[in-house]
Symmetry: C2
Subunit: 323 residues, 2 copies
């Protein structure tokens, strides 16, 4: 009986692979270097190698339903990478499904890495028990993933849920997507660091806290982590930086509420590590930016799947789309 | 064999009722006064009366699958009105499904009026042949409706797709939803009229066009219709008002693109009557506010179902949710 899925999480540094049961139990978990700099074809070879290795270790293909892949960027329904993964040269326009099928005999499905993380949270983590969920992954950028009526929503060409590119400030900071004022520029880790630098410059000398001194001394080394470490010591300027960052995030969450009316918004990504402040702030601030009846029916949670969200979500996609 | 649906479109002035086949053919179409001012219970009685009348005219319940209702505001999955229809006193908190079922023996489904209009466009109009669609109804406000993977998306509590309340100008015009800068304040008929008044005031005396003279003479009587009538005569100030209104709408459409990656955006409502300008402008402007790969895969259409969109969509909901 076919009851297992292989999941592959394509990261800039490592490929993670898993053999997973439908209940989320991981039978095998392994990682190999992505070798992103060697280009899309090498990455594809490495994925095939990893799938073959997992299949062999598991004892053959007999129980394997198929392979799910979580990748940065956009992936079309036919398995063609449409773009958005600039750190892998030549990954764009790569056809992913056919080569893996030919090499391994296994059917393949794929989704954006944050989209599949939303699926993982929905099945095994903070999204259990609700049907409509938005995940925001706050890291070097802001990724998004959306569950609609209990299923992952990709859009026809795998490009839905670019939640980091909701503008929150008209004419605001330039974003690498070409727009201005995207929430990614204010509530990702580099965005929060930029908020910190802006705030700290404006603090008069006599009112400088330890946080301000550190930011001014080493502005290039500031990250969201710096802000939240000082916030946890009670630094009032770090608190103001957080409140500003959270308000900007809340504006985007308000838009998500008005468009999708989700039951739950889940916050994940590196910025959320050991940081409960953002969830508390969303509960308070997001309702200011949405219809009251919608806001009343939405709650906010920390992501629970951690670093395995991508690989578990990729495998979960197999149970969702190939069974 | 049960093969017909009753659809009811609840308007502020009239209740429209239809008996419809699955292919959209309307066997009976009738209307009675809503009597909104008499309150929610009277409106409910009038709906029951209209359903009974349609059922009798059709020759009994034998072929009727059920009743679909399109209503302003939010309607929960269990048939309770959650709010957002302030022109009908006491409509909020009314339980709609049970009384109709008890009086007529017919099962009932319901959705927001613009949501069901999106379903009508998807099945019988401008949304045929694509899976993911957003409808914007530009009228006295801006309503929204969303089709996801070929099905109407309501959110768990029937409140999704409040697309008129996407902010497009930080700190902009006060909206009746409590926020500032919602697109409804700039691209609904009253919003476009407000744009016209603002622009015309700023035109120096020597450069006043016929449009400017009219707007300044009768500022309270300006509507979107005024703008588009003068635009069709080639008035350059009317053109500028349109371009500004369209740019504001494009900002909201850009957000919808980044969140939902729809295959098609349909524009409907009173503002769009005899007005192709807005569709042309969206094609040009919306890509400025969205990821290029997403914008490339979305097109823009005029709504096609006209004033019957609501009642046909309400009936279509029966085929979607009760069969």
């Amino acid at each position: 009986m076919k009851d297992l899925a292989i999941g592959i999480d394509l990261g800039g540094t490592n490929l993670k692979g898993v053999v997973m049961e439908k209940n989320g139990a991981m039978q095998l978990l392994t990682r190999v270097p992505t070798q992103a700099a060697k280009g899309g074809q090498q990455v594809l070879k490495n994925i095939i190698g990893l799938v073959s290795e997992l299949m062999a270790k598991q004892g053959g293909a007999e129980r394997i339903i198929g392979v799910g892949i979580g990748t940065p960027g956009f992936i079309d329904g036919d398995g063609t990478i449409l773009g958005g993964a600039e750190n892998i040269p030549g990954w764009k326009r790569t056809q992913v499904f056919q080569p893996i099928l030919q090499a391994t005999g296994l059917r393949v499905v794929a989704g954006n890495d944050v989209t599949v993380a939303a699926l993982a949270e929905s099945r095994y983590g903070a999204g259990r028990g609700v049907q409509n969920v938005a995940l925001l992954a706050l890291g070097t950028g802001i990724g998004g993933g959306v569950m609609i009526n209990g299923h992952v929503y990709k859009g026809t060409h795998g490009m839905a849920a670019e939640l980091g590119h909701i503008p929150v400030e008209t004419g605001g900071r330039q974003c690498n997507c070409g727009q201005r004022g995207c929430v990614e520029q204010y509530a990702s880790s580099p965005g929060i660091a930029a908020n910190a630098r802006e705030f700290c410059k404006s603090i008069p000398v006599g009112q400088r806290t330890a946080f301000v001194e550190e930011v001014l001394a080493r502005p290039d080394q500031v990250s969201a982590k710096t802000v939240y470490e000082y916030l946890n010591t009670g630094d009032p300027v770090a608190l103001r930086v957080h409140e500003y960052s959270a308000d900007m995030l809340a504006r985007a969450v308000g838009v998500i509420l008005n468009v999708l009316s989700p039951d739950r918004v889940i916050l994940g990504g590196g910025v959320m590590k050991r940081n409960h402040h953002m969830v508390d702030s969303m509960t308070k601030l997001a309702p200011r930016y949405a219809w009251p009846q919608i806001a009343e029916r939405c709650d906010y949670r920390m992501a629970e799947c951690g670093e395995d969200a991508g690989v578990k979500g990729a495998a979960a996609l197999v149970f969702d789309e190939l069974v």
